[in-house]
């Protein structure tokens, strides 16, 4: 569908959201899929409140909203995983009622979930035909299926080997398998739930190209995201949800879309991006975290980190950039004692840490915000107050002999929650918190230990704009108070915005250290790809 079909003004001209949430764009074409007045409640919450949403044939349509704005619920209703309490779903202008995802893909609607539903022990082709084959016959011919899948893959320029086992594939390739599943079923409407969260920038580009090709062939793509640049990069129109309500649908104008007003519509207020101002530390600032010649074996027994040396000074934020899987995770875990390092030494303020001892790192004044928040950094099945004292429960403040002082712990937690502006009470289970609030609890605990060093890994991954803003502010505040911060993130923008120095990792080595305020993006890109190792 062409963008000129809309006479509505570009996004910059939209003054305010329509509070009733009626779609702005009008068209003669009947939508490929439409949700009309959808309401769905869960105990205690209204996830979708009379939401209207429609997607035209041949367009890539972004569904934009913060975490918890009801995007995923809406998609699950569109594919029959949930049933709406009110309202209806129409496909090609006809009301449909899906009792299961199978009904939905037989009607041509398919959703690629955030967490893939692939069987690792099966091949790509076997996964694609899992649950549905084109031929209803008893015997399963692996070769025939492989040929068919290969043909589908070729048609849409998706490069995956149908004979490969899923466990051999990278995350990006696994996602392609999911898309291939949809294509094999001749799906007309493809819904992707936050597809780029797990992809590298290059893989994102490939995904976008496939989506454009699909739309070009007349299919509709619903692209669920909370990342604004992706909306303008690949989508024709965007529908925005906020707190379970539709805010409106807007066309993306060529080059003229104002990200700032999109962000405002999504968040409901003005958003400023938090950056660290360029500054120079005096030469005599003491080094607090010193990593010397550290090598770490990864889970396959090979060296994941090779001879890395790095120093972080008091009040400095050092970023580590790199494509995922180049040793960042192993480095973070070795530095914080979660994983053993084969060679080298980690010092915090002249104190050498014991190898593979998180306790020794904690005692030396190191705080750590791991990439895996719920599971490593926090325990989801425990309350906020249990999590708040996860590392400090031994201190005499919280203990009375062998017993914990419950009242003191909960009043301490309440104070922590209000200081860091976390929504929730000390008795709330952590898994009931939103991603942003959980991350705040984690940061609050780590900051409150008054650390000398803070190691953070992917601190804003999966968080929405407001939560990201908060996390960034907290990191900058920490550095301003004199904490040495080691920031490891796959989000290059984040590393560049926050760091005083950026070390680029490739193949387990640091290939160069650059100044983020002067560096050329192309140069950093080449370093991340391992092509150029200069600094």
């Amino acid at each position: 569908m062409s963008k000129s079909a809309f006479d509505s003004p570009g996004i910059t001209a939209v003054v305010g959201p329509d509070p009733e949430g009626s779609p702005i764009s009008q068209t003669d074409e009947s939508p490929a899929i439409a949700a009309i007045g959808i309401t769905r409640t869960f105990p205690g919450v209204v996830a979708n409140d009379h939401v209207d949403f429609e997607v035209l044939p041949g367009e890539v349509h972004a569904l934009l909203g913060e975490n918890g704005s009801g995007k995923t619920t809406l998609c699950k209703i569109l594919t029959g995983l949930y049933r709406p309490d009110e309202g209806q779903v129409e496909v090609n202008g006809r009301a449909v009622r899906f009792n299961s995802p199978r009904d939905s893909f037989e009607a041509g609607v398919f959703m690629v979930q955030q967490h893939f539903s692939l069987v690792n022990q099966l091949t790509v082709a076997e996964n694609v035909v899992l649950g549905w084959t084109r031929h209803k016959r008893f015997w399963f011919s692996a070769r025939r299926v492989e040929e068919e899948v290969a043909a589908s893959a070729e048609q849409f320029h998706i490069s995956v080997d149908p004979k490969a086992f899923v466990w051999q594939l990278s995350v990006g390739e696994r996602q392609r398998v999911e898309i291939l599943k949809a294509l094999y079923r001749d799906v007309r409407i493809l819904i992707l739930d936050e597809p780029t969260t797990v992809l590298t920038p290059q893989e994102c580009e490939e995904l976008f190209a496939s989506l454009r090709a699909l739309a070009g062939a007349g299919a509709s793509v619903v692209f669920v995201t909370h990342k604004l640049p992706e909306v303008t990069a690949v989508c024709d129109r965007v529908s925005i949800l906020r707190q379970g309500r539709s805010v409106g649908t807007f066309p993306i104008s060529e080059g003229g879309t104002d990200l700032r007003s999109l962000a405002r519509l999504m968040v409901g207020r003005d958003v400023t991006s938090v950056r660290r101002s360029s500054r120079r530390l005096p030469e005599e600032t003491p080094v607090v975290l010193e990593i010397t010649g550290v090598s770490v074996s990864n889970q396959f027994g090979r060296l994941g980190v090779r001879d890395v040396s790095l120093q972080v000074r008091r009040g400095e934020i050092v970023g580590i950039a790199g494509v995922s899987g180049n040793g960042q995770r192993e480095l973070a875990e070795a530095v914080t004692g979660m994983q053993a390092h084969a060679l080298g030494q980690v010092r915090v303020a002249d104190r050498v840490l014991r190898n593979e001892s998180p306790r020794s790192a904690i005692d030396a004044g190191m705080a750590y915000v791991p990439e895996d928040r719920l599971g490593t950094g926090l325990v989801g099945t425990l309350t906020v107050s249990d999590n708040a004292i996860l590392k400090s429960f031994r201190s005499s403040r919280f203990c009375f002999g062998p017993l914990l002082r419950g009242k003191i712990v909960s009043s301490y937690t309440d104070e922590l929650l209000s200081r860091f502006d976390v929504k929730g009470t000390s008795a709330t289970l952590v898994r009931q918190l939103s991603g942003g609030n959980a991350q705040k609890v984690l940061l609050a605990r780590e900051m409150s230990s008054d650390p000398k060093v803070l190691v953070v890994a992917s601190p804003s991954r999966g968080l929405d704009i407001s939560a990201t803003e908060n996390v960034r502010k907290l990191l900058i505040e920490a550095a301003d108070r004199g904490v040495a911060v080691l920031l490891i993130s796959e989000d290059l923008g984040e590393v560049l915005d926050l760091s005083d120095r950026v070390a680029v990792m490739y193949g387990g080595r640091i290939v160069g250290v650059v100044d983020p305020h002067v560096v050329d993006l192309a140069q950093i890109g080449l370093m991340m790809a391992g092509i150029e190792g200069s600094a």
Binding site: F42, P43, N67, T425, S434
Partner: protein
């Protein structure tokens, strides 16, 4: 159609109403079975109640059955709560019986308090030692403790059988000619017989009192002590425990040892309270170790509620024994017990979920009508305490996507870093 919806908060009365409701449903279902097989349900239920609770010395008999169930139940509760799935309570119980009877026999006619205390200690140590095998394998080699502890049950079972039937061991009675033909264990001297406490007309076995003390102690330790805190953290996530600087291996081993010690105590109590000798066939037929898992499941793996679960299951088993007769076959007893346990255990889901009924295709047909009713139910739902309205939307995904269950599933939940 019927929809299950997760509860945000479970009101207190549900925990009482659900088991009672389930019991009523079970009695109706079992009643149908009884009518079909030509029995009068009302008189059967009256007989059961008489045998389990109301009849003379019935409740004493029930408590005698509840004693090993309580101790073995806590063996499972401690471990399962920490996601260490010790299925080896059965074998640890046998070992406890071996240890306690061995020490009891060796001490002979020493003063009773000394003999009894030594039996308790020996039983617990023996159970803990047997549990240490799967515990060490699990903590240091990441072996699946479900399999290893289960297999060791068979080893222990054959072991005690050997002690009495296939050898002239210290435990075997060789004093009379008939004992040589019909092998049995040596009986303890009365100094090793555990005292029973008489409360009104009810005889409470000493082991049951020990069980109550253990239940209280465990409750306090798990909920209020920092050791319990560590176990909760590690049970929730081993990685998080490591991250917080805890010794995760030691903790897993400690859980296994405590669990084994409780099962061992159950074995000691079987010797001290009940048989006064090592009785392999009796122990193996009773299967207290496995039934203990059911007892604690009835009490949702809570040590205090396990007491009630053990008494309930004890009553059921006791009633079953009495019911059995020429006209009432053992199979029918088993089936009835199965129906009752099935109903009560599966009803536990209702404390986590609420059932919503709506007519099929409700949102098409009854659009206007359903709007109203849903708004009504919405006001009745409790928002999370302290949550301002603005965050409700955000919580939506968190709540809806969250997996069910306050208690972790019986799958291998603890995966340590590979």
């Amino acid at each position: 159609m019927i929809r299950l919806e997760r509860r945000v908060a479970t009101p207190g009365w549900v925990f009482v109403a659900v088991p009672i409701g389930a019991l009523i449903v079970a009695l109706i279902l079992a009643g149908v079975l009884l009518v079909i097989s030509g029995h009068d349900p009302i008189s059967i239920y009256r007989q059961m109640a008489g045998a389990a609770v109301t009849g003379p010395s019935a409740f004493s008999a029930t408590l005698l059955d509840a004693t090993p169930l309580l101790l073995a139940g806590m063996c499972a509760a401690v471990a399962f709560r920490m996601r260490v799935y010790n299925i080896g309570g059965e074998g640890q119980l046998y070992m406890g019986a071996v240890g306690a009877s061995g020490v009891g026999l060796a001490l002979g006619n020493e003063p009773a308090p000394l003999v009894i205390a030594s039996m308790i200690v020996a039983g617990m140590l023996a159970g803990a030692a047997w549990a240490a095998i799967p515990g060490l394998l699990r903590a240091y080699l990441h072996t699946n403790e479900i399999l290893t502890s289960l297999m060791l049950n068979y080893v222990a079972g054959l072991g005690i059988y050997y002690l009495i039937f296939n050898s002239t061991s210290y435990w075997r009675d060789l004093s009379t000619p008939s004992a040589l033909v019909f092998p049995q264990g040596k009986t303890l001297s009365p100094a090793g017989w555990w005292p029973a406490v008489h409360l009104g007309g009810t005889v409470v076995p000493f082991g049951f009192l020990l069980g109550l003390v253990c239940a209280l102690g465990l409750m306090v330790a798990l909920r209020f002590s920092r050791y319990g805190f560590q176990l909760r953290v590690i049970g929730g996530s081993t990685q998080a425990g490591k991250y917080a600087g805890m010794r995760t291996r030691t903790a897993i081993l400690a859980v296994m040892l405590i669990s084994g010690a409780l099962a061992g105590l159950a074995g000691a109590s079987q010797v001290g309270d009940f048989s006064h000798l090592l009785d392999p066939t009796g122990l193996q037929q009773a299967q207290w170790g496995y039934s203990g898992i059911v007892a604690t499941a009835l009490g949702a793996f809570n040590p205090i509620a396990t007491v009630l679960g053990a008494i309930f299951l004890g009553a059921l088993i006791n009633a079953g024994f009495t019911l059995q007769s020429a006209t009432f076959p053992q199979g029918l007893v088993g089936t009835m017990e199965g129906i009752i346990l099935f109903c009560v255990l599966s009803a536990g889901a209702l404390t986590l979920y609420r059932v919503k009924f709506s007519l099929s295709g409700g949102w098409h047909l009854l659009r206007a009508g359903s709007v109203r009713s849903r708004h009504d139910t919405r006001t009745e739902r409790q928002p999370l305490a302290g949550e301002p309205a603005g965050t409700l939307g955000r919580l939506a995904t968190a709540v809806s996507e969250e997996q069910a269950g306050t208690f972790p599933p019986l799958s291998k939940g603890l995966s340590e870093a590979p």
